[in-house]
Amino acid sequence: MKMTVLKSAIAGLALVATGVMAEEGTVGFEINGDIPIVTRVPAAAHLDGALSEAISGWEYRDSSTQAMQMDDFDNPAMLAVEQAAEVWNTAMGTVGKSCADCHGDVNESMIGIRATYPKWNEKAGEVRTLAMQVNNCLTENMGAEAWKYDGADMAAMEALISIPSRGMPVNVAIDGPVASVWEQGKEMYYTRYGQLELSCASCHELNYDNLIRADHLSQGQINAFPVYRLKDTGLVTTHGRFKGCVRDTRAETFAAGSPEFVALELYVASRGNGLSVEAPAVRP
C-alpha cells in the first residue's frame, strides 16, 4: 500500500537513474531503490547568487551513514515512524478521535504536505510549521494536550508525515502574507550571534564543504528533518538542531517553537527549494 502511494508520488522521476541530471537537478541516490532523491539543484532565484547550488546534507556524510538512509530497513528512524503510525490511529483527548478519524490514511492525506511547510495559515493569520499544525489539531480538534515542540512524540509524528512526501521537491512560498516573516528569517541567518560572532552563513554559506574540526560542513539544509542522530540515538527536529547551532556560537539560544525560529525555519527551508524531501534522514 505504502509503496504504491510512494511510486505514484514520484512517478515522473522514477525512471531517472542515480547521478543523472533530472530536469530539476541531480539525483544523488534512491531510497529503497525506487524513490529518487535530488541532492543538488540550481539555487532558487531569491538567493541572489549567495549559493550557486542547493546541496543536501546527505552529500557531506560518510558512505556508511549515507547507506543507512538508502534502505528503510537500515534506517533507525523507522522505528519511531512505526510508533507514530500507531499514535496516528489512536483516539486521544476529550473529543475521542484519532488523527486517522479525520485525516484517513497518512500516506494518502499527507502527500506533499511536508514539502510546503512552513506556510501561511489563513484562518489563524500566521505562519505555521508542521509541528504547530500538529499541536493545533491536538488542542483545537482533539481536546488533547499539546506535545513538546521538539520532543520525541512530535519528531516521530513529523517523520511519519514526511514519508509520503519523500522525493518531492521542497517548495515553500516566500511571498504574499509570509514575506515579512521570511525577511525576518533572512536577517537572522546573516546575524553574527554570540561571543564567537558567527552567523549561520559564516559556517553554512561561506564554508560548506570545509572541515571545522572533525565536522564536514554542509549547507545546513532542512529538507532531511527530522533526522536520526546516531550520536543521540534519537530523532532531532529542525528547531532542536537550530538550538544547538546557535548555542555553539556561545550565544543565548532561542526556544524551540519561538517566533524567531519559525521565521528562521521558513527562510532556511526556502534556501532548499527544489531539493527532495528526505526526512527522516540519518546523521552521525
Binding site: 564554508n207 572541515l211 548555542r247 556561545r250 550565544a251
Partner: protein, 158 residues
C-alpha cells in the same frame, strides 16, 4: 621600556578585568592595520602553553579552523581559515598579536573570533550553555594566553 611599563601600570588601574601589568581588552592599541606593537602583559610568551591553547577545544580551538603541520599529532584540523605553516616568518609579532587579539581589525568581517574582547555581542551567552551571559564576558583568552599563542606562532618559520 620604562615608559611602556608605566603605561601598562596606568592602564591596569583603570581596567576592571585586567590583572596588574596587563593591557585590558578595551585598551589594546591597534594600529591602522590591526597590529599591536606592545606585549599585553610584559611577560614573555610561553610557546609550549601556546600549543595547548591552540589545540584545546575549551581554549583557542585554533586548529578547528586552521591546519598546522607542527601540530599534526593533535587530531582534526579544520579548513575554514588558511594554513598557518610559516606564519611566523610571513608576519611580524605585532601583526600576529593583533590578529589573535581581534582578527576583525586586520580582516574586516572575518569569520575568525575575536579572542580579546568582552562586550558588544548580539545575544551573548554563558559559554556553551545556551543561556544568557552578562557583559562584560570574560575574554575567550587571557592576555598571557594571547602572548603564549603569539610566541608559538613565531616558531612557525617554514
Amino acid at each position: 621600556m620604562k615608559s611602556i611599563i608605566q603605561m601598562a601600570v596606568g592602564l591596569a588601574m583603570v581596567g576592571t578585568v585586567a590583572m596588574a601589568g596587563e593591557v585590558a581588552p578595551d585598551d589594546v592599541a591597534y594600529d591602522e592595520y590591526g597590529a599591536v606593537a606592545v606585549s599585553l602583559t610584559g611577560v614573555a610568551g610561553d610557546p609550549a602553553n601556546g600549543i595547548k591553547i591552540m589545540t584545546e577545544r575549551s581554549k583557542g580551538n585554533c586548529i578547528a579552523c586552521h591546519q598546522v603541520t607542527a601540530l599534526a599529532e593533535f587530531p582534526f584540523h579544520g579548513e575554514v581559515g588558511p594554513m598557518l605553516d610559516g606564519v611566523g616568518a610571513n608576519r611580524s609579532e605585532a601583526e600576529l598579536r593583533g590578529i589573535v587579539a581581534n582578527a576583525k581589525i586586520t580582516f574586516p568581517e572575518s569569520v575568525m573570533p575575536s579572542f580579546y574582547k568582552t562586550h558588544g555581542y548580539i545575544r551573548p551567552g554563558d559559554a556553551f550553555t545556551g543561556k544568557a551571559g552578562t557583559e562584560p564576558l570574560p575574554p575567550l583568552l587571557t592576555a598571557q594566553e594571547i602572548e603564549d599563542v603569539v610566541a608559538f606562532l613565531m616558531t612557525l618559520q617554514d
